[in-house]
Amino acid sequence: MYVAVKGGERAIDNAHAWLAEERRGDTSVPELSVAQIRAQMTLAVNRVMAEGSLYDPDLAALAIKQARGDLIEAIFLIRAYRTTLPRFGGSNPIDTEDMACDRRVSATFKDAPGGQVLGPTFDYTHRLLDFKLAADGDAGDVQVAEPQKTATPHIMSFLDREDLIQTEPAGKDVPDDLTRTPLELPASRALRLQSLTRGDEGFILGLAYSTQRGYARNHAFVAELRIGAVAVEMDIPELGFAIEIGEITVTECETVNQFQGSKTQPPQFTRGYGLVFGMTERKAISMALVDRALRWKELGEDCLGAPAQDEEFVLYHSDNIQATGFLEHIKLPHYVDFQSELELIRKLRREAQANIHQEAAE
């Protein structure tokens, strides 16, 4: 007798065992350590932290190892872990002006207080495979500069003084939390930014690129891009003051965008904003462009019907954990529904063919 799909339990156990074996790979090659991933795959670690919404390089590295290098799977592991963590409270807003900048560039001014700092960038490397790395990855001696002791002012603040850049309305003291309340539309800018910063890098990049190519073009200049460590402080009620509880590296991008002015407002520059965990420059710039595109309503612009302007479209489709889950679930059994479709299509075809025969007979 034919027995259908029995043995689910054993199949799952065997699949898991095989998966573990595949993850380890060829045992004659030394196993990767979490420390190696954390130290040498830093940009992958940064992406996992950013889209996983959890700043912990060790856990991100572990997730990458467990996920066999599949970063969306690693992000998923971090998200699932993150939900189980208790919440002690909220930190104070980080002050990026006090950032210890590893990199800080402005595309709008040749120079500015604080200077242009290239930092560890791929920008001017020639993309030639370095075959020496295949044998030896030693970086050699690197010159070290004195760290700057003073704060690095935001480029935007200079435009602000002249009133050339639009001032931002104050948000709520405590913004809504995307991970604690169901998203309802229209969403506040704080919620939109939360969604963008944890959104899929590829998706946000594609949307941002579409604005550059004319789908709601918003003429962005990178006023400033800065990457570095900032202190995280938290008010401790028992103490009555804020203490530093740690340090995180973030990437911040502020864009200056043209604005024609409207009936009520003289022409003024507007801004887009990107802030992402870790060194995640492509994502931060993309985020700033999409943020700006989503602001059409509050700036009194026309909606051009572009995807990047459609808040519902962007916010509902940017999360790669939601997207990958729903996309991949179609490989789960659907045979009950398919059976009902089979019955229906057979019936419709029978009826249609009967009609054709009848018409032919007439």
């Binding site: 539309l185 954990i321 889950g325 059976q339």
Partner: protein, 289 residues
């Protein structure tokens, strides 16, 4: 696994979900937004149903999970194991013994009792979604009871195909008010939506919970001259001979030979144990030996 709270979610989260469930029961068929959590299984694998089950399970419950009507499909196994591990509840494959049943795509053939809860996994909770992609718009349509678009869709089906061309996730109207997606169950199951048990629907990715209280009126949308018809394959089960159950169609040989068997594996097994034998079946004891 003792590091996790009973049924995985923390008590505050469960409370939040229970509030959404109670609101859903108070407004039958209405989609209640809830702050869905990221679960350790992917969206699309039943995270909504899992969160609802986690919120209603108590240590004394007996839990059953089916996918496509069967207890032994891989994802049903996975979800059942999840709650065995995180809640330590008793599990069963017998519909009559379960106090909470989580399901994907089917309603059990056996009528449920008043002391049973049926939890559905829902992919897209919005019955109007494929007519109107915007959530902002569809929420307005529900608020205004503006369901003309759905009737136009059904009418267009009839004018194009001569029949309503929806075979599963067939839309229903609950207690004369909300049009509701019964989740992708075959329309054969729709009449069973009026039942003694509590029915809870969880959509994790879409962050919605809705419910049908016991003995609530649930009407499948249709027209007087094209009445709703629950349909199934025109066969009997080849294993147990049942005429009244929803059937899976299997391809059994290279020539395309077909066999039909109950989708509800517990229903089929129970019948075979009771001595029923279908056209290609053998008595239950012999098969088990």
């Amino acid at each position: 696994m003792s590091d996790y709270n009973f049924a995985y979610l923390d008590e505050q989260t469960k409370r939040m979900i229970r509030r959404a469930i109670l609101k859903g029961l108070a407004i039958p068929g209405h989609q209640v937004p809830f702050a869905s959590r990221e679960m350790p299984m992917p969206y699309g694998w039943g995270t909504g149903g899992v969160q609802v089950s986690a919120a209603v399970l108590t240590p004394d419950d007996t839990f059953k999970v089916i996918d496509q009507g069967a207890d032994d499909t891989t994802n049903a196994v996975s979800i059942r194991r999840f709650f065995q591990k995180t809640a330590g509840v008793a599990v069963t494959e017998a519909t009559t013994e379960a106090s909470v049943i989580q399901t994907r795509h089917r309603i059990p053939e056996q009528d449920l009792r008043a002391d049973q809860i049926l939890v559905y996994q829902v992919p897209i909770p919005e019955p109007l979604r494929f007519l109107e992609p915007s959530e902002v718009e569809t929420r307005k349509m529900h608020a205004l009871e503006e369901y003309g678009l759905m009737h136009v869709k059904l009418y267009e089906d009839i004018s194009q195909h001569g029949d309503i061309a929806t075979a599963y996730a067939y839309p229903v109207k609950v207690e004369g008010r909300y049009v509701m997606d019964p989740s992708p169950i075959p329309k054969f199951d729709n009449p069973k939506l009026e039942m003694a048990g509590i029915q809870l629907f969880g959509a994790g990715r879409e962050q919605r919970i809705y419910a049908i209280p016991p003995y609530t009126q649930v009407v499948s949308l249709d027209f007087d001259d094209y009445p709703f018809l629950p349909t199934k394959a025109d066969h009997a089960c080849d294993l147990c001979g049942a005429q009244d159950s929803y059937l899976d169609e299997l391809i059994v040989d290279d020539a395309g030979g077909r066999m039909f068997m109950c989708s509800d594996t517990d229903y089929c097994t129970t019948r075979r144990k009771a001595g029923h034998v279908g056209a290609q079946g053998v008595p239950y004891e012999k098969d088990a030996a």
